[in-house]
Each structure stands twice: as structure tokens, then as C-alpha cells.
Amino acid sequence: MTLTAGWFMGLAAVLFALGGAGVLLRRNALVMFMSIELMLNAVNLTFVAASKALGQIEGQVATLFVIVVAAAEVTVGLAIIVAIFHNRASADVDEFAELKG
């Protein structure tokens, strides 16, 4: 059995789903955010796998951009989470439900 691109993309899909489940199930903002990072990495895996299979470099380039974006999100995300922790001494997202309705 050879590992075709399909396997990698399947793995990526599983990772993506796991990341999504993490967002839904974890209450800590940081962990949720990490789950999103996991999803982004699943995307990267997909890009790379497809790029390899198609013989296109475009996908690999895309991966770099996604990584950069993920990094940018981290900085901003952490800043926001820190600010909110500063204000409320908690990072539990279930406690932030002032705005609703």
C-alpha cells in the first residue's frame, strides 16, 4: 500500500474535524484558539499534499502564507485573551455572555 495524496488529505480532514471539535468542546479561550491552530495546520497539510500530487508549487507557497497568518492571529489573539484575563481573571469563554439576545 502506497501512501497516496488521498491519505494525507484524509488525515488532514480528520485533523480539521478534531480542531473543530476542540473549538466546540473546550471552554478555555486559549485551548480553543489552539484548536483553531490545529485546523489551520490541517489546511496546510491539505495544501502540501495536493501540491505534491498535482506537481504544483502553488500549494506549498500557500502553506507559508497560512503559517504567517496563523502567527499573526496568535499575537492578536493572545493580546485579546490577556486583556480579557486581566479584566476578569478568567479565560473561560462560558463566562463571557454579557452580550446576547
Binding site: 473549538v23 483553531i36 485546523m39 500557500a62 502564507f65 492571529e73 489573539g77 485579546i80 469563554v93 452580550l99
Partner: protein, 493 residues
């Protein structure tokens, strides 16, 4: 044309230079000096002028393709496209940005030395918004979208001391990141199916569809759905809309206008580019998805707006409905683009104006804007009340406002695409729309005056903003023909 290579990205360059100028001058000037505001303003104005030049350089020939760069030697297709569509989007987005800056100025003045950061972020966000309009490459589109979004995450929480602003920022950030992940996953999957992330050029997405008969379309469809979801989230189409009310309500009154209007404007322009141009060949696949999303949006948006007691939340939910209305035009593919452009530009202006007024009524730093604060506004500030009334009527699609002309167009487009049921559904929800817009008018004009009867004075900047918004609403309601002629020509390639 000489130096054409730089013209397509010239506005972005100007904005980035402006951003640097703002940050450095803020450091140089020190506290309590806000001259950097004019730098930002000039940058935005120059960007808008450059967009006009882009339009003119196309020589009135819609759809002339200009590449900004040859790209990497292996990649034969362009990253950036300059066509009538992107040029029009440029004019609209940069003008909106300028108005957004004016609207935010009251807020900026309260921010002290952090004001410059805010303005810099604003410029960055605007650059990102227009990047969405000119991207030929989906990854660049993602990048632009993230540039704008991340700036907005920060702007939403800029008044850090306020709990609701924090909450808004966190929600916006978490959900926005989630949506971005889905969006970029969609790009990856469509890349896997097509072999390109670029719309135009040899080997691009359009090229692929014109040369290939797609038989295995599973991955492609998943990709398209996820791209729609990602962009649909940005324009707050239901059921991906839930962030919008909370964020709009929690975000500072001075900042929320541009956040809301800008993202809608650029988001729909991107949707038009990606779906109507990029995936035009697959219209039979995605038009019905769009129709469903539009249907859910108009129903949920209006019925939820009908029960709101906060003007900003109400505007957010009505924005969901408006997203639905605009999406009805998307079902017609390329034939709905003119309608989409007309609607979304005028809508953005009205929305920005309405939020600007909210920023005056309940304060530029404040989040919530409950009805109680609006009661009897007519005595506290007849000017604001009148302007708000006009904007609300425009949003409600009353004749002789731009909103009416826009509705006519999007619904005509949808009907011509055969989605008559959607048109009827959407029109019925406009009735509910009328209900809640008039409810606000009732609060302002009919209900007894609240205890707080101090007159409200709007600053010259916000005054300019809602004056322009009201002007757009009425002018393009009475004589929409010039704009109609322009959007007719402003089609993507």
C-alpha cells in the same frame, strides 16, 4: 501604459506608507498632538483618487486585465487583478474608509496616545479590504481578509477597560479565526480539485473550467461550500451571523461603523469575484446554496431584529437580512454583480452613517445603544433624529432612497435567475424590516421624551459622515442613474 505595473497596488502602497507615517509621526509628535489624523485622511483620499485613476486608466473598457506582476516564474497566473470591478471597489472602499475615519474620530480623541495605533490599524484594515477586491489569487484573498479581520479584532476591543468591548473582541476573534480556518480549508480543497488557487490567467480556475469537464466534484463542492461559508461569515449571512450582533453591540460606537460596513462591502465584492467570476462555470452548484443562505438570512435577520431593543443590535440583525438581500443578486451570477455593487455600496454608506449617529447618541466609546437612550431624540437633536430617520427609511427600502433602488435591482436580478420564490420571501421580510425600522423612528419621534433631555451636539466629523450618508441615500434614491451606469460597467473579468 507606463508604470502600469505599480498602479494596481498603488493604493495599498499609499495606505501602508500612510500607516507608517501615522505611527512614526505619533511617536515624533508626542502626546496630545493628532496631526497624524490628517496623514491618514490624506492617505485614504489619495488611495481613492488612485482608484479613480485605475478606473480611468482602463479607458472605459470594462474588463481590461492588468497584472501587477508576472509572479513567480513557474506560476503563470496573476496574483492581483486590476479591472473595472476592483477599481470601483477601490473608490467605494477608500471613500468608506475615509468616512470611517471621520466617524471614528470622536473615539480617537478619547484614546489619547493610543489613537495613532487605532488609526494605523484602520488604514491597514482598509488596505486589506481592498486587497480582497483585487485578489486574483485565493490565497491572497485569504491574506487580505485576514489583514482586515485581525485589524478589526483589535479595533473591536480597543477600549480595553470596557468589559463588553473585551467580550466582543474575543468573540469576534475566536469565531473569525474559526471561519477563516474553514475558508482557507475551502481554498485548499478547491486547489486540490482544480490545481490552482488563481482565478485568472493560463492554468487558473477559469481556465480549468473552460478546458475540463468536471466529473468528480466531491472535493470541489466541499471546497466551494467552505469558501462560501468563510465569506458568508464575514458578511454575516445566516446561519454564520451570530457573532455580528454581539460584536457590533460590544464594540465601541465610534469604531463599529467601519467594521460593519467595510467588511460587508469588501466581503460581497469578494463573493462576487470568487463566485460570479471564479466559479462562474459551477453556478448551478453554488447558486442554490446562496439562495438557501439568503433565504435563512432574510428570515432570521428580520425576525430577530424585530425583537431587539438596542439600536446597534438591531442594525446588526438587519445587516443579516441585508446580507440575504444582496445574496439574492448573487444567485444570478455575473448578471447580478451590478445590482450587488449598487446595493452594497449604498448600504455600506447608510450603515456607516447609522452607526455614526449611534456613536453620537450613546457615545463613541460605549457599546450598547438601548432604545431608552434614543427616546425623544427629536427634541434632543432634531438634526440627528432626522438623519437617522432618513437612513432607516433607506435601509428599509422606502422609495426615493438608495435602498429602494438597490432592492429593485437585486430582486430583479434574482428573479431573472429564476429565484422568484426567494424574491417573494425576501420582499415579505422587508415588511418585517419596515416594522423595526419604523419602531426606531417611533422611539425617536413619537414616544414620549426620556428623562435625559440635554441637547446632543454632534461633532463636525460625525456630522460630515451622516451628512454624506444621508446625501448618498437620497441622491442615489432620486437620481441613481449615474451610479447605475457606473456599476453596469464595473464588472469583474
Amino acid at each position: 501604459m507606463q508604470n502600469a505595473a505599480l498602479l494596481p497596488i498603488a493604493p495599498e502602497l499609499v495606505l501602508l506608507i500612510g500607516m507608517l507615517g501615522v505611527v512614526t509621526s505619533a511617536v515624533l509628535l508626542g502626546r496630545d498632538r493628532r496631526e497624524w489624523g490628517s496623514i491618514a485622511g490624506v492617505a485614504l483620499a489619495v488611495a481613492a483618487v488612485l482608484a479613480v485613476m485605475q478606473w480611468l486608466s482602463l479607458g472605459g473598457e470594462p474588463g481590461t486585465l492588468h497584472y501587477s506582476a508576472r509572479g513567480l516564474s513557474i506560476v503563470r497566473s496573476p496574483m492581483v487583478v486590476m479591472d473595472a470591478y476592483s477599481a470601483f471597489a477601490g473608490v467605494a472602499i477608500f471613500s468608506l474608509g475615509l468616512l470611517g475615519l471621520l466617524a471614528a474620530w470622536d473615539l480617537v480623541e478619547t484614546l489619547g496616545d493610543r489613537g495613532a495605533e487605532f488609526v494605523a490599524l484602520l488604514l491597514l484594515a482598509v488596505a486589506g479590504l481592498h486587497g480582497m477586491a483585487m485578489s486574483s489569487n485565493l490565497v491572497l484573498l485569504f491574506l487580505s481578509l485576514e489583514t482586515a479581520s485581525i485589524s478589526f479584532y483589535v479595533m473591536a476591543g480597543f477600549t480595553r477597560d470596557r468589559l463588553d468591548a473585551d467580550e466582543a473582541a474575543l468573540k469576534y476573534f475566536l469565531l473569525g479565526s474559526l471561519a477563516s480556518a474553514v475558508f482557507v480549508y475551502g481554498i485548499a480543497l478547491s486547489f486540490a480539485a482544480i490545481g490552482s488557487t488563481t482565478i485568472y490567467g493560463a492554468g487558473g480556475i477559469r481556465d480549468f473550467f473552460s478546458n475540463t469537464i468536471v466529473t468528480e466534484r466531491g472535493v470541489l463542492l466541499v471546497g466551494i461550500v467552505m469558501i462560501i461559508v468563510g465569506l458568508g461569515f464575514k458578511v454575516s449571512a445566516a446561519p454564520f451571523h451570530q457573532w455580528a450582533p454581539d460584536v457590533y453591540q460590544g464594540a465601541p460606537g465610534g469604531a463599529v461603523g467601519l467594521m460593519a460596513a467595510g467588511v460587508k462591502l469588501a466581503g460581497f465584492i469578494a463573493i462576487g469575484r470568487v463566485l460570479a467570476a471564479g466559479f462562474a462555470a459551477q453556478i448551478d452548484q453554488w447558486a442554490s446554496i446562496i439562495a438557501i443562505v439568503a433565504g435563512i438570512s432574510v428570515i432570521l435577520g428580520t425576525s430577530l431584529a424585530a425583537v431587539q431593543k438596542d439600536v446597534k443590535r438591531l442594525l446588526a440583525y438587519s445587516g443579516v437580512a441585508h446580507a440575504g438581500y444582496i445574496l439574492t443578486a448573487v444567485t444570478a451570477g455575473i448578471f447580478g454583480i451590478s445590482a450587488l455593487l449598487f446595493y452594497v455600496t449604498t448600504y455600506a454608506a447608510m450603515l456607516l452613517g447609522a452607526f455614526a449617529i449611534a456613536g453620537v447618541v450613546t457615545g463613541p466609546r460605549e457599546g450598547p445603544s438601548p432604545f431608552a437612550a434614543w427616546a425623544g431624540l427629536r427634541t434632543r437633536s432634531p438634526e440627528l433624529a432626522m438623519a437617522m430617520a432618513v437612513l432607516l427609511l433607506g435601509l428599509g427600502g422606502i422609495p426615493f432612497t438608495a435602498g429602494f433602488v438597490g432592492k429593485i435591482q437585486v430582486f430583479t436580478a434574482a428573479a431573472s435567475a429564476g429565484y422568484l420564490w426567494l424574491v417573494v420571501l425576501a420582499l415579505l421580510t422587508t415588511v418585517i424590516g419596515l416594522y423595526f425600522y419604523l419602531k426606531v423612528i417611533k422611539v425617536m419621534f413619537i414616544d414620549p421624551v426620556a428623562d435625559d433631555t440635554d441637547p446632543i451636539e454632534a461633532s463636525i466629523t460625525t456630522r460630515t459622515v451622516f451628512a454624506v450618508a444621508v446625501g448618498v441615500t437620497i441622491l442615489f434614491g432620486l437620481v441613481p442613474w449615474p451610479l447605475l451606469d457606473i456599476v453596469r460597467d464595473a464588472l469583474p473579468l
